[in-house]
Amino acid sequence: MFNLTPYKIGTLLKTQYSNMMEYRVEIALWAISGVIPFFMLNIWTNNGLNDSLGISNIMLSRYFLSAFFVRQFSVVWVVFTFEEDALLGRISPYLIQPIHPFFRYFAQHIAEQITRFPFALIIALFFFIFNPESLWFPSIGIFILSLISTFFSFLIQFLIQSIIACFCFWTEKASSFEKLIFIPTLFLSGLLAPVESFPTFVKSWVYFTPFPYLIDFPARILSENNVNIFSGLCVQIIWIILFFIIFLKVWSQGSKKFTAMGL
């Protein structure tokens, strides 16, 4: 359907990986900028906010560490790259290549995650040095399941951002849409506070949005808090299919609008 061969995938990943390795300091810094969950954890446990929720300090610290990991491997920035490429006219050569341009960005993200992995591990190591009592090793099954749901979370965010990126065809500047979408992602995904701590009037509708499935759900799997894994994964798949269909529609409409800039 997309003209993909294993050879093309391999080449894309290899070139993007070496590109990312060039800027490994930048990626390390980026990994550090994701430490907000740890500050939040500090506020929660230091003020005993979790007592009335019935979550122990250890479970909460595992939750926030997992949230950190999930966030690290589901960061998406495709709209910013695409906007720059569109404004500078770099999209034109990509469009005539016999491969969908978004695979290039997709490979970029995967390569970045591979580069980021050791840095995230180092940060986790420091976390365990300061909080040795929260150390745990998830079983292989749990680990694989959380890996899958993190990847699904990444896919959902990648598709949402790709849809927003396609708005560039109409408005030229789409990154402000992304900033708007980022606000609910930040506050409703469970990065700053577990979704179960939300007031009931928010909890009643928040599970109908994709946001809790971006961080809260994978983090709960990884930290072994109780969660319905099967139904969660199903909901993630439904969102992926939905956004994928929207993306294909928006892309086919938008790329017709494209008037080569630059070149």
């Binding site: 930048e26 907000i36 402000s176 506050f187």
Partner: protein, 264 residues
């Protein structure tokens, strides 16, 4: 130094960058929504914290809201004046266009720090003041001339610390070429400025008052409003902000010696 010339140039900067920004009117509308949602999100988070407890680090919800208001104002100032310019520095250095700034008969730090202005932060500043006035109401605070003066003084110091932090980090680009993400690290650390410092554990409190002086940025102005700030804290804030401003200037001049242009 010719002040008149600088004022004239600054007016022209504002004129050109505002006309660039107003090209994208939809964006401004979306930024307005983003600012409103962002603020409601933060208040939502605060309300989650306070639904489980009466006070965080000795601050009640009404008092913590003051910190939120100060943070919002300062964040608006950052988004209007600091971040659009200082993220540009990275671009100047990477593409070698800093050459053209350096040969101009104007101070280079002035140019790189004030070239751009982005109207999106105005909304945040406005919202911050609205919350602040609301806080005055619910906390029954009446400001007299003295405390008003101290408030402006401490907020002025906070602004100069913020500027220096942004500027110092952006300047390191001269050595590391691509440090766009370093500003992201700063941004995420500044995020904790919207919570009372006492709500963190002791080691983090030390970290936030020495390594990155976030405590000075929002905590002291809020304490001034509540009338619980001590004299030595205000003196300390003035000293810290002076140190930051002077070192940002020194560091820029020092860093320029290592600037070796790109391609041109």
């Amino acid at each position: 130094m010719n002040i008149k010339k600088y004022i004239k140039v600054y007016k022209l900067f504002n004129y050109t960058s505002l006309s660039i920004e107003l090209e994208y009117q939809v964006n401004i509308f979306i930024d307005l929504l983003t600012a409103i949602f962002g603020l409601s999100g933060s208040i939502f988070l605060l309300s989650i914290f306070f639904s489980n407890t009466k006070d965080i680090g000795g601050w009640s919800f009404e008092q913590a809201l003051i910190i939120q208001a100060i943070y919002t104002i300062l964040n608006g100032i950052t988004n209007t004046w600091f971040s659009p310019n200082l993220t540009e520095i990275v671009k100047y250095i990477r593409e070698g266009t800093l050459d053209f700034v350096l040969i101009k008969p104007i101070d280079s730090q002035f140019w790189v720090s004030f070239k751009r202005i982005s109207p999106t932060g105005f909304i945040e500043i406005l919202l911050g003041f609205v919350i602040l006035i609301y806080c005055f109401n619910i906390n029954n605070i009446t400001l007299n001339i003295d405390s008003l003066f101290l408030l402006f003084l401490t907020i002025g110091c906070s602004i100069s610390i913020l500027y220096s932090l942004w500027f110092l980090i952006s300047t390191t680009t001269i050595w590391f070429v691509k440090t766009w993400n370093a500003t992201e690290v700063l941004r995420s650390f500044l995020y904790v400025g919207r919570f009372p410092l006492n709500s963190f554990s002791f080691p983090l409190r030390v970290f936030f008052s020495t390594v990155i002086p976030i405590t000075f940025i929002t905590a002291i102005p809020s304490e001034v409003i509540l009338g619980i700030s001590t004299f030595w804290k205000i003196i300390l804030e003035i000293l810290v902000s002076l140190t930051f401003i002077i070192s940002s200037r020194r560091f820029w001049i020092y860093a320029l010696k290592f600037y070796s242009s790109a391609s041109s």
